[in-house]
Amino acid sequence: MESLGELFTYFLQNLINALQRGSFYAVISIGYSMVYGVLMLFNFAHGDIFMVGTYIGFGIATLLLAAFASILPGWTIFIGTVVITMFLASWIGVFVEVAGYRPLRSAPRASAAITGLMIGIIFETGILIMLGAKRLSFPPLMESVTYNIGGVFLTNVKVMIIIISLLLMIALQFFIQKTKWGMAMRAMSYDFLAVPLMGVSINIIAPLTFAIGAGLASVSGILYGQAYPILDPYMGVIIGWKAFVAAILGGRGSIKGAALAGYLLGFIEIFVATIFPSTLRDLIAYSIILLILTYRPRGFFGMEHSTKLRL
């Protein structure tokens, strides 16, 4: 029998791991929720946007490291990678909206969902054709340091992943609450008809929403590359679906819900794996989610569907 202290350390260790995993799910699932809030569709290409964002991050990081590694300190290269990747990846989001979804704005939602899946496949095969099937490895952007705090092992990479993810979400919250575009996005998710009457163009707000989702996903991709430094063209599929589950669990269209559910998903996955064999992890974790959704189909913060007006 382990002592209580050891059990607590074990718990803390898993808590850190859960926070790291939850950070990825939370940041990615926000992209699903924001788009749903504004356009009432799930952008099923989002997982692959995350993948493309990670590849962009990989490219920028490699370039910057080759050019400046000897001159500049590591953290400036890291920040440079994040900022440039975010900027470039947000244009991928804009492209997906303008080319993929805009022509289908008044089409049935099922058509848009199929388009999303198709865009995802195009991205996957596109990367496959351009870079080949070989797995690439993400260059480390900082030297990994491990701290031992009372038996709990922390790496600086883990801490950074958790903190940057939180900072991104706080910045997003500020954007949504304080700026005119954020207000328009919030308004869109409650009533669609009245927003254009305020002089707000959907053709501005929709691509902006996609851009933010893609930008967030790409930063998450860089962080993901630091934690699991292997890139392949299908890396966005599983994580995309899991983030989609988080968006549903949090309540369609709710950003707060998506973030919360993302972390919850991380916790459930990690703690299930500590009790059961890890091969059963997803089976048990997602059965729990299924059970929650059975009793609360609209998720944590979702609105009843009837309250949303749409032409």
Binding site: M183, A187, Y190, D191, A194, P196, L197, M198, G199, T307
Partner: protein, 257 residues
């Protein structure tokens, strides 16, 4: 005097159904015009056609002499057309002040970088908007609800928020879709007062759909009666009130009763 809003020979089909036929309308600056007619006559459709929710099959629409047919709703709105809805199109979970601030969207010209660095210009714009928003809240007697979530307000106050929101966009003409629907007689009287005041203070023309005759007769200078998508009578309130066709449309033919 040239008309502020001019609709010429507007016809609209939904598939094979002719919803509006050869509709003409001319509203002068500061004029209050009413649109009445039985349920399903196409009144709200006419609102949707002019405000750009649908594009009319045929006809021309101009606002201040400029063509607005075929433009997006947001473009038409920024040319000076404000609107409220029959079933309140408010934003649940947003507070009253945010509703009014949101309506100032076009007046906030700061860019993404300005917002990111919170520049003085950006802050100044925001505070101007806030000031103007409070002025509107006061005018519409909803200041006490400024930080309340919209769904917690009494119905009449929600209607006033919607109107304040429409006025915040600085329209030249205001479209009101059944502004007194579901109101108590007291709220109705207050609404008449508010519309009069808005009309005076903002120098705005008003086009309204209403069912309550008392309200229409009291406010409107000119009234159109719409039946099955066609105007069967138009004129000053007294003419309309005594027009046999209008009475028939509302009450049925005499010999049938």
């Amino acid at each position: 005097m040239t008309a502020l809003l001019n609709v010429n020979q507007m016809t609209h089909y939904f598939g094979g159904l002719r919803a509006v036929h050869n509709y003409n309308l001319s509203i002068n600056p500061k004029q209050i015009t009413g649109l009445i007619g039985p349920n399903g006559a196409g009144k709200t459709t006419i609102f949707n056609l002019i405000t750009g929710v649908y594009t009319p099959t045929e006809g021309a629409i101009t606002l201040s002499g400029e063509n607005i047919k075929g433009l997006e709703t947001n473009e038409i709105a920024s040319k000076g057309l404000g609107r409220t809805f029959q079933n309140l199109a408010l934003w649940r979970h947003m507070n009253v002040l945010d509703h009014i601030k949101m309506a100032h969207y076009s007046q906030l010209s700061y860019g993404l970088l300005g917002a990111f660095f919170n520049t003085p210009a950006c802050r100044r714009q925001e505070s101007e908007v806030e000031e103007n928003a409070y002025r509107l809240l006061e005018l519409f007697d909803i200041k006490q609800y400024a930080f309340d979530i919209i769904t917690s307000l009494p119905y009449g106050a929600q209607r006033r928020v919607e109107m304040a929101r429409a006025m915040a966009t600085n329209p030249k003409i205001l479209f009101l879709d059944e502004p007194t629907a579901g109101m108590t007689p007291d709220e109705l009287i207050q609404m008449i007062k508010i519309i009069r005041q808005v009309h005076q203070d903002f120098n705005v023309a008003i086009f309204l759909i209403e069912h309550r005759m008392k309200f229409v007769m009291e406010l409107c200078e000119f009234i159109q009666t719409l039946v099955f998508g066609e105007v069967i009578a138009e004129g000053e309130p007294e003419e309309i009130q005594n027009n046999p066709e209008v009475i028939e449309a509302y009450l049925g033919k005499e010999d049938l009763t």
